[in-house]
């Protein structure tokens, strides 16, 4: 799995966006930050909670100049039907059929042929700024991802449970 400091592999993949099939390249995304999250499958019961939760927080991410992109091994047509099933998703769902992108990010479960639940935050230079993966049965916290984006944007030393309105850390807290 890629780690902070690694160059984010580029992609040029079919996707579902605004209820139809399309195509998306990483280079087309002009936001300062990109939240790229992988999930195992469309038409499942844990994944939609995350997909929908990210969709609901789209404006909050946009306010931080961050775009959201999701990817799974399903094809674009399935993504379109899945997004419709969820009431519409306002960010691109990449069709990583074959799992090449997931493999490039080191998050493909080769045995199952599915992507792990992994989240990457890419900076303006499209380097990995943050990477996290969790077990297949545990949904991610969207608010935590948003908190990390805000922390990265702040450019500050952010202690545990940092929030944008947290007071600056004491001098002794900044080491390590």
């Amino acid at each position: 799995m890629l780690k902070p400091g690694d160059t984010a592999p580029a992609f040029d993949l079919p996707c579902a966006i605004d209820g139809r099939e399309g195509r998306l390249r990483l280079a087309q995304i002009d936001s300062d930050w990109v939240v790229l999250f992988f999930y195992p499958h469309d038409f499942s019961f844990v994944c939609p909670t995350e997909v929908v939760a990210f969709n609901k927080s789209r404006d909050a991410f946009a306010a931080e100049r961050a775009s959201i992109v999701a990817a799974s091994v399903d094809d674009a047509a399935t993504h379109v039907r899945w997004a419709r099933e969820l009431g519409g998703i306002g960010y691109p769902l990449l069709a990583d059929a074959g799992g090449e992108l997931a493999r490039a990010y080191g998050v493909l479960d080769e045995r199952e042929g599915l992507a792990m639940r992994a989240t990457f935050i890419l900076d303006a230079g499209r380097m990995i700024a943050y990477a996290v993966a969790c077990p297949i049965n545990i949904g991610r916290s969207v608010s935590e991802t948003l908190r990390v984006v805000r922390a990265l944007r702040s450019g500050r030393m952010c202690p545990a449970d940092w929030q944008p309105d947290s007071p600056p850390p004491a001098r002794s807290d900044t080491a390590g």
């Binding site: 499958h41 469309d42 038409f43 499942s44 019961f45 844990v46 399935t78 049965n137």
Partner: protein, 251 residues
């Protein structure tokens, strides 16, 4: 147009689930008693003693088989109930995981992922339907599989008794004139063979086999093989009893 009534079929299948106890009990009752009669006829020369021993063996066998069936079903029911309870707890604690796993099972059985999702989604609107489907599909468990220990025990015991009567009755009704008079034993073996064939034939009928007589012959061959072996063992151990092939009896 005739409509298939699944509830009728379900009742029939539930009744047929006792067939195991009936067939096993009768077969064992017939064979054990026939084996005792054959074995003792080889070792004991007094007809009344053979009958008494066979009666004692029948009583002990019926009680033992009934108790065995009762305890077996009870143990099975307890284990199954625990598993079902655990499934219920898991479903309450991890509803998403239950749905996800059921979806996976349906997909594994040939439904597309999308169709599986829709089926599980529909089932989710009725939690009991979701749970009972998950129990069957994910764990192979079913509440219908839970038998009644008392009924199974009673069925097995009574079936054993009925089976035991088959060789015993002709053996009692056709008394033996002496140690070399095997008329009673032959009558017992003949009715035994007929009854075993009938059970096999009945089993074939239940299974809707075309060649039911073959089921009858198969059942007869396996069962009679055991009886013949019993007789041969009786002959082999006869010298151990002393008295030239007869067991001394207390007055």
């Amino acid at each position: 147009m005739a409509v298939f009534d699944s509830s009728d079929k379900k009742r029939v299948i539930e009744r047929l689930s006792s067939i195991r106890e009936v067939v096993f009990g009768m077969q064992d009752g017939i064979l054990t008693t026939a084996g005792v009669l054959a074995g003792l006829s080889g070792a004991v020369s007094i007809h009344r003693q053979v009958v008494l021993a066979a009666l004692a063996s029948t009583a002990a066998g019926a009680l033992s088989m009934g108790a065995g069936a009762y305890l077996g079903t009870r143990a099975e029911t307890e284990v199954l109930s625990t598993e079902l309870e655990r499934t219920r707890e898991r479903a309450a604690a991890e509803p998403y995981m239950l749905r996800e796993r059921l979806l996976h099972e349906l997909e594994h059985e040939g439904l597309s992922r999308e169709s599986s999702y829709r089926v599980v989604q529909l089932l989710s609107s009725a939690p009991q339907a979701l749970l009972s489907t998950a129990e069957v599909k994910m764990y192979g468990l079913s509440r219908q599989a839970l038998g009644s220990a008392a009924v199974d025990g009673l069925t097995m015991g009574v079936a054993f008794l009925i089976g035991a009567v088959v060789p015993l009755l002709p053996f009692i009704l056709v008394p033996s004139a002496g140690p070399s008079d095997y008329r009673g034993l032959i009558a017992a073996m003949a009715t035994t063979a007929l009854a075993l064939f009938a059970i096999g034939y009945f089993q074939g009928w239940l299974a809707e086999r075309r060649r039911r007589w073959l089921s009858g012959l198969h059942f007869l061959a396996v069962a009679m093989g055991a009886a013949v072996a019993g007789y041969l063992i009786g002959l082999a151990i006869a010298p151990l009893g002393g008295g030239g092939g007869s067991i001394p009896v207390a007055p």
